[in-house]
């Protein structure tokens, strides 16, 4: 990443003029990211219903309210569930599937078959979330849903109310997210495996190491950098989940599936608590930045520890 500043012997003229090339993006950054973000933090210090309504100074009131707000804590609890559904489960299944496809099936059934399987796994990734959400809301529908109908035809008389039962709805959302996410780790890990020297596997095989042993001793350590990238991007995505909740459950039933982004959205556009919504969005951003910074620092240290 960060290129160290070597001093190229007065080559390429003076450095100053390169700033010009950065200018368009810098201006855009100020307009689209920095200024709105600063405005958002500013609004979080007020009680404000939005629009023409007066802004009343609140100081840190909103933040204090937030820490005793049950819905807010519930939303972060659900963020953990989203991390399980987007990071933990798909990464584990993704490694196994990638190894199965690349190392096991690929050698016996050929590249074409593997390419078709991989493309099928990846398909949900390119789907507009509006479409994916709709498909799953019909699948998980209580009376007419495909899932319930299938279970009934298998003899289960009373399938659960997938999206209507507060104890179950969050798991139903997780099911959809796993489906949505799996293709990403599979594709990344498969291309990572291409990088691994096949002689490593052959040597291990000659030594009598079985598939599982080779998987543990070679596959996992060799694709560690990619595992890190997948875990990082997936975790950030999990903390930001919004559309699936809006489309599938609307945060319900009984707030059981509310997540921070959805809570902020509701505060902005439904509850007319813009100051409070800004507070939620600010805290949410901080959590994301901190999580990312911790993970990046940790990885930086790990790669430096490794003997080269």
């Amino acid at each position: 990443m960060a290129a160290r500043l070597r001093s190229p012997r007065r080559s390429l003229e003076h450095r100053g003029a390169y700033w010009l090339y950065l200018l368009p993006l810098a201006a855009g950054f100020v307009i689209v990211v920095a200024a709105p973000f600063a405005m958002n933090v500013y609004t979080s210090l007020f009680h404000w219903k939005g629009g023409q309504a007066p802004m009343r100074w609140a100081g840190l009131d909103n933040y204090l309210t937030l820490f005793t707000d049950e819905t807010f804590w519930r939303s972060f609890q659900n963020s953990v569930a989203m991390i399980v559904a987007i990071t933990v489960i798909p990464t584990i299944i993704g490694i196994l599937l990638a190894a199965l496809l690349f190392d096991y099936l690929g050698r016996r059934f050929g590249d074409r078959a593997i390419a078709v399987l991989r493309a099928t796994y990846y398909l949900p990734q390119i789907l507009p979330i509006a479409v994916a959400g709709f498909i799953w809301s019909t699948i998980l529908n209580t009376q007419q849903g495909s899932l319930s109908l299938m279970l009934r035809s298998l003899g289960i008389q009373d399938p659960p109310d997938w999206l209507g039962d507060p104890g179950i709805a969050v798991y139903s959302v997780m099911l959809m997210l796993v489906w949505l996410q799996i293709g990403y780790p599979v594709v990344i890990f498969m291309s990572a495996l291409q990088r691994v020297d096949p002689e490593l596997y052959e040597a291990a095989e000659l030594d009598g190491a079985g598939w599982w042993r080779r998987f543990q001793a070679i596959t996992i350590p060799q694709i560690r950098p990619e595992i890190f990238v997948v875990v990082l991007t997936a975790t950030i995505a999990a903390l930001k989940v919004f559309a699936p909740i809006l489309i599938l459950t609307g945060g319900g039933p009984e707030n059981s599936t509310v997540v921070p982004s959805y809570y902020a959205y509701r505060s902005f556009f439904e509850l007319s608590r813009v100051g409070y919504g800004s507070t939620i969005a600010t805290v949410m951003s901080l959590v994301i930045f901190i999580v990312a910074a911790v993970m990046l620092t940790w990885q930086h240290r790990e790669t430096r520890k490794e003997p080269r």
């Binding site: 689209v32 709105p36 507009p128 479409v131």
Partner: protein, 287 residues
């Protein structure tokens, strides 16, 4: 699936055991589960509403009909939405990547000061939740008259995706052989010319990947367009679909047909650029 029908005789170094077939069956089962929601979508798009409510989503259609499609097209100005999506995604993809090329030239090749700080800001722009920007963006769009116009999302996403692109591109450029650049400089080429004659041809594959991905992401983007594009005339394909879904009296087959229509452009795009996409997922992963 055709996957099972395509054996490759050359690569079988040994005989296939029953366990091999079992593992293949497992992989194919996963593929079927992944594809099942798509198949259901297709199945139910060609039914009448009455057929759906009596026989359910799993039954074969009693009669094949395009009723649901015509009904969708009569409620949503789909050609308009399609045009909005194609135009905005194309402009975002090319302009965002161009902006990223310029900025990464300064960072990766020019090695301007405060590189680390700039990289951190780029990551912030990529990771910041859109909730923390949306309310000010909404007012900004209103003040500039861009609310309910695709140009509002064009401006926003050019910058957001360019930040990501700059992050990727500048790490590619920082590994660039300095000798080549210095040789060009000695030949009297200015910075602008070096960018286009030396740097551009070499990073072109990465640029292609960025254009393709930015296009897909912009096409599928949901939250910001949902807020900024309230007027149906300005809506993109996914937003038009979800706005229609909000109306309760709609037959589910109609939404099915609409979903299928909304999905086809992405699918076509995916098939055309499949190779670039699989290359791209990797390129993003390495750094």
């Amino acid at each position: 699936m055709s996957a099972t029908l395509a054996p490759a005789p050359r690569s079988s170094r040994r005989r296939r055991t029953p366990l091999n077939w079992l593992m293949l069956a497992l992989a194919v089962t996963v593929a079927v589960l992944m594809a099942a929601p798509f198949l259901l979508l297709v199945l139910n798009a060609f039914k009448t509403g009455a057929d759906y409510s009596t026989n359910g989503p799993l039954a074969w259609p009693t009669t094949f009909t395009f009723e649901a499609f015509t009904s969708y097209l009569s409620r949503v100005d789909f050609p308009r939405a399609l045009w909005n999506s194609v135009l905005s995604s194309t402009v975002i993809a090319f302009a965002g990547t161009a902006l990223a090329l310029l900025a990464s030239y300064a960072i990766g090749i020019g090695r301007i000061r405060a590189n680390t700080a700039i990289t951190a800001l780029l990551l912030v722009a990529t990771m910041v939740p859109h909730e923390a920007l949306i309310y000010p963006l909404f007012y900004g769009a209103q003040a500039t008259g861009l609310l309910n116009s695709i140009w509002s999302i064009v401006v926003v996403f050019i910058v957001l995706w360019a930040a990501y692109g700059t992050y990727i591109l500048s790490s590619v450029m920082s590994t660039f052989p300095r000798e080549v650049l210095e040789a060009a400089a000695i030949d009297g080429a200015g910075r602008w010319r070096i960018l286009w004659t030396v740097v551009f041809p070499i990073v072109r594959p990465t640029l292609t990947v960025l254009v393709v991905f930015t296009f897909i992401w912009s096409w599928n983007e949901f939250y910001i367009p949902l807020i900024l594009l309230g007027d149906p005339a300005s809506q993109t394909v996914p937003i038009a679909l979800s706005t229609l879904r909000g109306q309760h009296s709609i037959d589910i087959t109609v939404v099915n047909a609409g979903s299928l229509l909304s999905l086809i452009p992405t699918l076509v795009f995916f098939l055309i650029f499949q190779r670039t996409i699989s290359r791209g997922v990797t390129a993003g992963a390495v750094k």
